[in-house]
Symmetry: C2
Subunit: 328 residues, 2 copies
Amino acid sequence: MKKFLNSVDTVLIESLDGFAAAHADILILGEKHKFIRRRELKPGKVALISGGGSGHEPLHGGLVGHGMLDAACPGQVFTSPTPDQMLAAVDAVDTGAGCLFIVKNYEGDVMNFDMAAEMADGVLQVVTNDDVAVENSSYTTGRRGVAGTLVVEKIVGAGAEQGMALPDLKVLGDRVNAATRSMGVALTSGTVPAAGKPTFEIGDGEMEFGVGIHGEPGRRRDALKSADAIAEEVCAAIAGDLGDRAKGPALLFVNGFGGTPSMELYLMYNSARRMFEKQGVTVIRSLVGSYVTSLDMAGCSITLSMLDDQMTALWDAPVHTAALRWGM
Amino acid sequence: MKKFLNSVDTVLIESLDGFAAAHADILILGEKHKFIRRRELKPGKVALISGGGSGHEPLHGGLVGHGMLDAACPGQVFTSPTPDQMLAAVDAVDTGAGCLFIVKNYEGDVMNFDMAAEMADGVLQVVTNDDVAVENSSYTTGRRGVAGTLVVEKIVGAGAEQGMALPDLKVLGDRVNAATRSMGVALTSGTVPAAGKPTFEIGDGEMEFGVGIHGEPGRRRDALKSADAIAEEVCAAIAGDLGDRAKGPALLFVNGFGGTPSMELYLMYNSARRMFEKQGVTVIRSLVGSYVTSLDMAGCSITLSMLDDQMTALWDAPVHTAALRWGM
């Protein structure tokens, strides 16, 4: 295992300490590293709380701040946070307008966020499940929630900032999730620090087509193909799943998994954009970068969110987080 | 070689096409991919032009836009751009107030930017050489210019935006470079697409201490050490080189080389910050992310820039590029 670390037991807290120190203008750490919260709360605003296993940074802590999340609860690497973390976060950031939990669809996360939602008052939830690769998976009943979660957090975050009420934000979040599809490809496996070796074996000339963000199996193991061939198949899977909706204005988000540099991500973006535009999609917004990672896995995912005027305006609204910032 | 690409001959232009399409609001590509230029020029402003071999993205193209560069000239991977690229860029973005070239200290870059500067009128140059690892190197006489180049581009870019004159910007750029030191560590080698195999061999338990951003040798090959031990030695080298200047307010920039995820970069930031603060440095600004990469190399560099009030204000000034954006 080749990583920058001092001890596998302290990777997470040392990384969180560094993160909080580097972004002290935006956020503060909760007691015992239970959550990361926005430094300045906005009384009367619905609080958005997300979280999940660590190893996907900057998701979710890097998305805490004005116009996105009020708090993020980091679990151990690839392990759900516990309900006491979510309850502590609710306690810290709910200013009276209620909370919306944004939860990626994994059994552990869903169970723990559900438990916290039952114990807290005035909580609604949006569960994301944008990954079209497979139904059911290692840790999932139904589809996995992956990079599309960032799109939900951005758009719902802007709605909350603008004063939308909790039930309306729940409807909006479900609508964004329903308009969003993703699929990923891995060239290498990430390595969980505590495991000390790659999560899965993969040959020099192979790729995992439809991989999950914890290295879960995808649709198949295949020979490594050209960028255009990969983009063609991923985009066809996404467009096929969207069906008649895959026409008109959209956000195209090409996401790196942690070990792939931006030169390759922009090349994939170029391929994917051509594929989608041939099918009648008009890319009006773009995001390219490593935002929803899988430790040091080489690979990328492609996400398409079909946009309407409200979603576009909320995507464009000001945001000030460690990982996404514009308009302020 | 595991990369997303269609052909090694078209990696660069396909990536640039994707980059320009994704950021069409900020920039446009010059003819024959000779340069990336800011979409909206500001008449009367000194034009800042940088460039260098590709493979270090987002440097420099990702730093084109309001408050930073007016143009960036991308060479082939790890190969200097040619003088005709710089001349075409000058022609496109010089609105009459002159041009400043910002050049990393590599022989090919220095020679080609010099040649272009002689052929164009009204050009001054700042050459960056912030890497304290080694004097002279594979492609360098003197010290290498590495991640500190971003700091020069940000601060000088803000000065240009505020209307500073060309000679003053040259002085400012040299001053920022002189206040800035960097050093890097590699855990793996990157792979140049046209070479098809890693630039250097490195064992499972080894690191290259003081590596350059093209995989050039550093101070020594060593056993992989803990994050704290690495940070301690890198920070001591930087502080030792700064001497008496290594006291007071500073920018700490932890830069990923392309294959290292942000969880590890923040952990290194945490270690480096503690080391510097023990020595009397006060970290008042921070940047953590993969901005000056070496293809898919795993590793990171640490940069410290000693700040005065003018430099701090210019660092904080609004910027709107693909890779750095704040205040607007």
